[in-house]
């Protein structure tokens, strides 16, 4: 990883990958969601409302994946002081927050017909809402820290690491506590050949997750480039100001 500590080398790679990731992600996502809307079968109990699965579940996974990336980057920032770690964590925060919000909104829309309620305060919904609030807090904190130029991103990194305890809580909320949200459909039970989720739903879900992940990667790279460009521009301005002051 330290080969990419050199921002110039990282930027060359990022410039090469950003557009292909975004284009492929948009194409895969569009195709899968279109199929989900028109081609996927109706579910035996839920009927047509099951189609929201193809956007709700990948958004939930990427909302959690985004914070996992923040936590890993924060660890790398705190321990190894990798120069790009803090930037990667800040870049992942906004798309992660957007995915968490998509998960909450689509879940609410799904909950009304499936459960009979827009919102309930059970373990899963509450812990997911907390994840969204954590993202908001992280974005505000990391931006404030970067703007003040003090702390070197360490306060945000500690926050990113501490907030990671919420990720296993979200996953186990439906296992530890009685909740209205159903337990996970994907897991060890699939290996026994008795998968709770039938093949068309499962394959569509995995394809949508792939598309969402490509989009996520593209947005993260684009945001990292933006943050690096801003830093360079600021450094240049500061240098220019110093030169003018000297003259």
């Amino acid at each position: 990883m330290h080969g990419y500590a050199n921002p110039a080398r990282f930027l060359r790679l990022a410039r090469l990958l950003t557009a292909p990731l975004l284009i492929a992600g948009a194409a895969v996502t569009a195709i899968v969601l279109l199929w989900g809307l028109t081609g996927a079968p109706a579910e035996q109990l839920q009927g047509e409302t099951v189609r929201i699965l193809f956007i709700h579940v990948p958004a939930a996974w990427l909302g959690m994946g985004g914070w996992s990336m923040i936590a890993l980057a924060s660890l790398s920032e705190l321990v190894w002081r990798h120069p790009l770690a803090g930037i990667a964590a800040r870049a992942a925060a906004v798309p992660g927050a957007v995915f968490a919000l998509i998960c909450l909104v689509t879940g609410s829309i799904w909950g009304r017909p499936a459960w009979g309620a827009w919102w309930v305060w059970d373990g899963r919904l509450t812990s997911m809402l907390i994840l969204f609030f954590l993202y908001c807090g992280y974005i505000a904190l990391a931006d404030a820290e970067a703007r003040s130029g003090q702390g070197g991103g360490r306060i945000a990194a500690i926050f990113g690491l501490v907030g990671a305890v919420n990720i296993p809580i979200i996953h186990y909320s439906v296992i530890w506590w009685q909740s209205l949200h159903q337990p996970p459909s994907l897991g060890m039970s699939m290996l026994s050949g008795n998968a709770p989720m039938a093949a068309p739903f499962l394959l569509g879900l995995l394809a949508a997750t792939f598309g969402f992940s490509l989009l996520f990667g593209g947005v993260v790279l684009a945001r990292m480039r933006t943050i690096l460009a801003n830093q360079q521009a600021e450094a240049r301005l500061r240098r220019r100001a110093m030169e003018l002051a000297d003259a």
């Binding site: 009979g116 690491l161 989720m197």
Partner: protein, 152 residues
Amino acid sequence: MSAALKPKHQRLVLVLAATAALIAAALLAAWSLRNQASYFYLPTELVAKPPAAERAVRLGGMVEAGSLKTAPDGVTIGFVVGDGKARVPVTFRGITPDLFKEGSGVVAEGHRQADGTFLADNLLAKHDEKYVPREMQQMTTQEARQKVEATK
């Protein structure tokens, strides 16, 4: 100098120790929340440790097959919520969610009455983790029917 750690390793040990402490704290919190964070009582819990009769609680379990009955007024229904160990009769007056049916999960919001039955003000349908296409379900019922025909 042999005992001294490089700053990088010192930080790693520190962060790992802090993370371990944090995870332990979170697990302890989750453990103590085990009962409070549950969204509803199971029938077993409601029977074993009944809450005060007028306290609003939620009861969750399976709607027992064959237990659903509609009262003569047409809007009041009665059914039994069970979890395999205990059964609680529930009365509800109002519109049920689409997914509410016998053999399926339900969460009833209401309170326990003095006679041990549960009076619900609101019903929430709880579906399980199974996702089965409608065609496949019809196929399996057809297959089941064929099997029934064959064994006659």
